[in-house]
């Protein structure tokens, strides 16, 4: 039971971590606003489902599309102007951007948790001693398939190849006629999609509340454990974090769950500084 619920949360962490990796790979920026892009996505879903009363699929499409646009907008308004400037200033921008996004959300929707709404129809399935909810099964399936689609995009398409090229050197790919700006904004848009879907799914189980942004915090160790450059690693890292969080909080106590994730992160960093699937630095002698 613990394993299953852990894996389900883990798939969502993995998806959010994937968004983190996409941005890092293309622009070497750690996007600390990822958790708040997630929050915004979740609230936009709630808004279109409850306030606008849209059917499920329409609400999903609308909020995920909005997440894509938010990602692109953030890139265009802030980071594009900082291309070529020190990385630390970009990272600082993302940290404070997260506060701006949080403020925006609480300004519009208030700071109290919103009325609960499930994403998928909720019913339980029994498999022997296991009790599963359709809600979490569907969330698990959706998170994994979106993550799979993003990885396939990255790996097999021209655009995906261009994104991996941009990750290695902006000037080099510009000399081949590839627009770095377009690729960067695409990677932010995709990160926005991953964050929104993660937020919506988490909102369905935890409720739509400001605390959802914490998932962004858990996605960071997931990305680091997998290796910051590896989309597959991010998903596996997410699963690992989800599992360990749920098992530790089940056997040791609720409070121990989240710190356990960070203990694993620190241990990984000590023994494998590049994470499990990160790119090793190539140095020819």
């Amino acid at each position: 039971m613990l394993v299953i619920s852990g894996a389900m949360n883990g798939a969502i962490y993995g998806l959010v971590a994937l968004g983190f990796v996409l941005v890092y790979k293309a622009s070497a920026v750690l996007n600390f606003a990822q958790g708040y892009m997630l929050l915004l996505g979740a609230y936009l879903f709630w808004f279109s489902r409850v306030t606008l009363g849209l059917p499920l699929v329409a609400a999903l499409l609308l909020s995920v599309g909005a997440g894509f646009l938010v990602g692109i907008l953030i890139e265009r308004l802030t980071l594009r102007r900082l291309i070529g400037q020190p990385l630390i200033s970009m990272i600082t921008v993302t940290i404070f951007l997260s506060l701006v996004l949080e403020g925006l959300v609480s300004m519009i929707w208030g700071t109290y948790p919103l009325q609960h709404v499930t994403v998928f129809h909720d019913s339980t399935i029994r498999l022997g001693r296991l009790v599963l909810t359709t809600q979490s099964l569907l969330a698990f399936g959706l998170a994994l398939s979106v993550a799979g689609a993003l990885i396939a995009f990255f790996r097999f398409t021209r655009m995906g190849l261009a994104m991996r090229g941009v990750a290695e050197g902006h000037q080099i790919v510009q000399s081949m006629g590839i627009s770095v700006r377009r690729i960067l904004s695409l990677s932010w848009g995709l990160a926005g999609i991953a964050a929104s879907i993660g937020g919506i799914l988490m909102g369905g189980t935890l409720g739509f509340q400001l605390g959802l942004s914490q998932i962004g915090l858990l996605a960071i160790p997931a990305a680091f454990i997998g290796g910051l450059e590896s989309p597959e690693g991010a998903v596996l890292g997410g699963l690992l974090i989800g599992l360990s969080e749920s098992i530790v909080s089940g056997y040791v106590g609720n409070a121990a769950g989240v710190p356990a994730a960070f203990v694993i992160l620190i241990a990984t960093m000590l023994f494998r500084p590049y994470g499990f699937f990160g790119l090793e630095r190539i140095e020819r002698v």
Partner: protein, 262 residues
């Protein structure tokens, strides 16, 4: 095909690197640009390809025209799409990608359907790349990397290729191989080539026209064969004395002839 008239380039608004460079690259020819370190050769190429603008450089006076259109205000990606591809010096491979991925990216601006055929063409020129197509490019030897970079530029089917020091740090045998490919590119693909080199001997033997750049100015130009016979070029760039015998280092030290053009 390409005309630079009185091009002046400043970095960061204050550092004057090119002080009025004028040169012409006629269609279908190999033109080389010689000069010592810091003469402004690479800057000239970057001014043409637009890459200058990614490093705070700017064309502050003069004009660069390509097929009758001014290109000195365009973005590097626009210029690449017009058919000018630069092979940067220092073997700038995308080192975590495989050889084939590097080549495919080179063909990014081409229609998707033709990438396959262009890959075959590049492998035809560089059989060694075919056997290493799935190798991570960061672990290739220097010669293989340089071949891959030329191949990557070929994937874009450029009409004008800007080659920056393809011989740098390579063994003489490999340099000869690479120059053989450059000649074939010109003869078989009708690619116009602007070549920057410190290896004056290899460059003059390959090209039809040559310019000599010093301190951000063109100081000599003419047919490559004529320059190879020029007394000053022989002395300062080819290291030969009056009668064609190699000079000893002692002679260079004790007597330094004034460069006539200064």
């Amino acid at each position: 095909m390409l005309t630079l008239s009185n091009v002046e380039v400043k970095y960061a608004g204050v550092i004057l690197v090119l002080r009025g460079v004028s040169l012409q690259v006629p269609e279908g020819k190999i033109v080389s640009l010689l000069g010592s370190n810091g003469a402004g050769k690479t800057t000239t190429l970057k001014a043409i390809s637009g890459l200058l603008r990614t490093e705070l450089g700017e064309v502050t006076a003069g004009a660069i025209e390509y097929q009758g259109r001014r290109i000195d205000r365009l973005d590097p990606e626009q210029i690449a799409k017009m058919g000018i591809i630069q092979v940067m010096e220092g073997r700038k491979v995308l080192k975590h990608l495989t050889v084939e991925e590097n080549l495919r990216l080179g063909g990014y601006i081409r229609p998707n359907g033709e990438v396959r055929r262009d890959l075959e063409r590049v492998y035809g020129y560089f059989p060694r790349l075919r056997s290493r197509r799935n190798a991570v490019s960061g672990y290739l030897s220097g010669g293989e990397q340089q071949m891959m970079l030329i191949g990557r530029a070929m994937m874009a089917r450029p009409r004008l290729m800007l080659l920056d020091e393809p011989s740098m740090g390579l063994a003489p045998l490999i340099v000869r191989e690479i120059y053989e490919i450059v000649r074939r590119l010109s003869a078989e693909e009708r690619t116009t080539i602007l070549l920057v080199e410190q290896n004056a001997k290899a460059a003059l033997a390959t090209s039809e026209l040559a310019y000599v750049l010093e301190n951000g100015r063109v100081v000599l130009d003419g047919p490559a064969a004529a320059l190879a016979d020029n007394e000053d070029i022989r002395e300062f760039y080819l290291g030969l004395g009056k009668l064609g015998e190699k000079k000893s280092y002692r002679a260079v030290k004790t007597y330094k002839r004034r460069k006539r053009w200064l």
